[in-house]
Symmetry: C2
Subunit: 200 residues, 2 copies
């Protein structure tokens, strides 16, 4: 059965993140067992995806119309910019309905070992947004970067680079997740929870 | 961002088995970030899938050519038929390289609560294969059905229905998985391991 249409589909699916060989097989057989219209709909969406979706020229998020719906929305507070690693993070933060400012996608995190330097990130564009006098003055940059070595490095770099701009730079709180158990928390997280403790 | 191409793709992916809303989002963004040729290749494979793959008229497995490569292979022992629930099971058993006979896909298991009766399964076709004098006499039927209530019911039904045919009916051994730990095995599995114990 090597090299037939089903095997080729399994190989393609197993290239997707979080899908191993077994899951890929399960998915391919599921599609084969389903109504052919599902496969055709999925095929059409996939083939049209890159034509339909582009990057927003302001924030760098994925969008059908440029600028994106967040950057265009007059109700959003453009004086607060949430800096994220990838466009997908915007989706996750929007789902949380906590943030009403605008976004800026860096397109990665500084990771010298992976060959990602500050020049590879959309930092110049961020500086332009801070210094652009046509827009409303940016008051705060919220760095919504992962609490990892790469996230910490990038946050530190941004803090140093943007020192000269009169903008508050904050970072998302790092500590114990809601519903977590002190017993099972790693030392680094516990230490951050202590350092970031909040007076009640 | 509701209702755009990306959201529609996420909804479609989340309909696949084992993929939740978060994984679907991750996959869709991954495809968007990848080379557009990947999306196009996947789209082409999906749209051509149902045209390329059909069911083997003998065993019921998925195949590009009819009969399938197993049923056509003169090296396979057609006197031993391995009865499986779904076409996907053939792939898993073939990967194990343990079995050199042929297959028969039932297309499900007897499950009265889900409205699946023996009439919904490919049992008549199995009986035809047993009684067809043109072919080599079938000596053994290996029931490779899940050790679940539905699998047990179906095995019992087949055993009763095929009583009149001079064919050995066997079932895959059920017991502790290799590398398992007696401490963590459930009672039913342990009981089956005892009943199916093998003299060494």
């Amino acid at each position: 059965m090597n090299g037939n249409a089903l095997d080729r589909l399994v190989v393609l699916f197993s290239k997707l993140p979080g899908i191993g060989k077994k899951s890929a097989g399960r998915i391919a057989y599921h599609i084969l067992d389903s109504n052919p219209s599902f496969a055709v709909t999925l095929a059409n969406e996939l083939s049209g995806l890159h034509k339909a979706i582009r990057k927003c020229s302001i924030c760098g998020g994925f969008t059908e119309a440029d600028p994106c719906f967040v950057c265009c929305d007059p109700k959003r507070d453009s004086s607060i910019i949430c800096v994220v690693e990838s466009a997908q993070d915007i989706r996750i933060i929007e789902d949380g309905k906590e943030f009403s400012g605008v976004y800026h996608v860096l397109g990665g995190l500084i990771a010298p070992l992976d060959g990602v330097s500050p020049a590879n990130l959309s930092i110049d564009k961020l500086i332009n947004r801070l210094s652009d006098t046509k827009n409303k003055q940016v008051k705060e940059l919220i760095l919504a970067l992962n609490p990892t070595v790469e996230g910490d490095t990038t946050a530190l770099y941004l803090q140093k680079t943007l020192k000269e701009y009169s903008v508050i730079i904050s970072r998302l709180a790092s500590g114990m997740p809601v519903g977590g158990n002190i017993e099972y928390i790693d030392k680094l997280t516990l230490s951050r929870s202590f350092r970031g403790r909040i007076r009640i």
